[in-house]
Symmetry: C2
Subunit: 261 residues, 2 copies
């Protein structure tokens, strides 16, 4: 079975039935995959406002109505409790469990957020002949904490996290042109070049993911990263917060071609 | 004094001091003007979510922190209580007063929203040689209620309101190209042509504003209108809601050239 050509609802059903437990990278080609953050409703306003105030790092795709397990646009028939292959459960900011089903934790008071993911624009970069080193080297993308503060919203505050892809400066310019049109999934880069300018002191040691080779004629190019809203939310130490586990994204019903910008 | 060339903070100071009470159309040329909605905090989450779910009709520019009179991006030094020339006070959905100062009503529980206004893209249309009939005829823009439902958020629901500008089909195509780049202020048109298709039965009788001439070779072009969030919020009958009075917009510190898209 070629998972790349499957429809999102088919894959989500397989995940729900426990038949599919892998990373979702490359599945349902062309369909938007999303980071997931689920919080009690008392945090929902400040978190929604955090996303609004930080569109490059926290590009909000959809938000459920309170207590609903589906999404108005990106997953009308979805069940957020079972259709992500691996969830992480945090209590008071501490990871306590990784699980494949959160039905027992979900209440009428929960709100689910879908946040854009850079998997989406990597297809477009590849199509333009721009290398994606972590795919070439079969690694997870390297991610770094920066010294750039996100815009604060209520109790949600902290510095932004970036993902990094090395390429030539000519390719970096082309990649900027391309990702400018992907505002729903991070948009243009946050920084190009010297990592120290944004507080990254050792490019060979990412804070998350794995390091990749940077060739002599290449510069590192940094994009806002969907890890930011998760890490900022964790810093606020909510009594309960549920996210997807890294790489196990929610596969939405919306195709890239439906993104308006 | 040429108000067109004044800086936003100068004009807002004049408004605050009672020296300026006019419509703000044409003032501080190139700076974004905004619709204003002020609500008690218990409505803020659903209203913010309403804006997120209806980006064309309710393009949210900025939102204050609860109880703050300034805005994080569009008016860092602003005082929303005095710097709009005319406010409307609604209680339980009924207009009870128009006033030039709301300091006596503003509490630590209020949240202020700034919503994009089509004044912003009219400059760009004029620059491209597209006629703006209501400016030519010195009218307020004609606005119509449609049969197109907005996306519901909590208690906020209703049909969207549109503004209309007549032009030739060639100009309509050009105007669509141009306004596509103004996503922060309504973006591309919602409809072009036959008004009945969107529930407007008499184009000569707008629901708000004033009618304009439509020439034989012209089609009506409809954009989402900032009246929508106000009318939807009023339908929810909040115990207190404060808005700008029509035409008396909040003049923001952000220039058109700073809009990223």
């Amino acid at each position: 079975m070629n998972l790349q050509d499957q429809q999102p609802h088919t894959l989500r059903k397989m995940i729900s039935d426990g038949q599919l437990t892998d990373h979702t990278s490359g599945m349902a080609k062309g369909f938007i995959q999303a980071n997931v953050v689920i919080l009690p409703s008392k945090y929902a306003y400040d978190f929604l406002k955090f996303c609004f105030k930080n569109p490059k790092t926290c590009p909000l795709l959809d938000v459920s109505e309170t207590g609903e397990t589906s999404f108005p646009i990106y997953g009308k028939e979805a069940n957020i409790c079972t259709e992500v292959a691996a969830y992480r459960i945090y209590r008071n900011g501490e990871l306590i469990e990784t699980t494949s089903n959160i039905s027992h934790l979900f209440t009428k008071d929960m709100v689910s957020f879908l946040i854009g993911c850079s998997f989406t624009f990597e297809h477009a970069l590849l199509a333009a002949g721009i290398p994606i080193r972590h795919l070439e080297e079969k690694h997870n993308v390297p991610m770094y904490m920066t010294n750039i503060p996100a815009n604060t919203s209520g109790q949600f505050k902290g510095n932004i996290t970036v993902s990094m892809r090395p390429m030539t400066m000519q390719q970096a310019i082309k990649a900027t042109e391309i990702t400018t049109h992907f505002n729903n999934v991070h948009g243009a880069p946050i920084h190009i070049g010297n990592p120290e300018e944004i507080g990254i002191n050792n490019i060979t040691q990412p804070d998350f993911g794995e390091p990749v080779t940077i060739k002599d004629n290449e510069v590192p190019v940094f994009w806002g990263c969907g890890v930011t809203p998760q890490s900022v939310a964790l810093d606020a130490k909510p009594e309960l917060m549920i996210t997807h586990a890294p790489g196990h994204m929610f596969i939405t019903d919306i195709h890239e071609s439906q993104l308006s910008n």
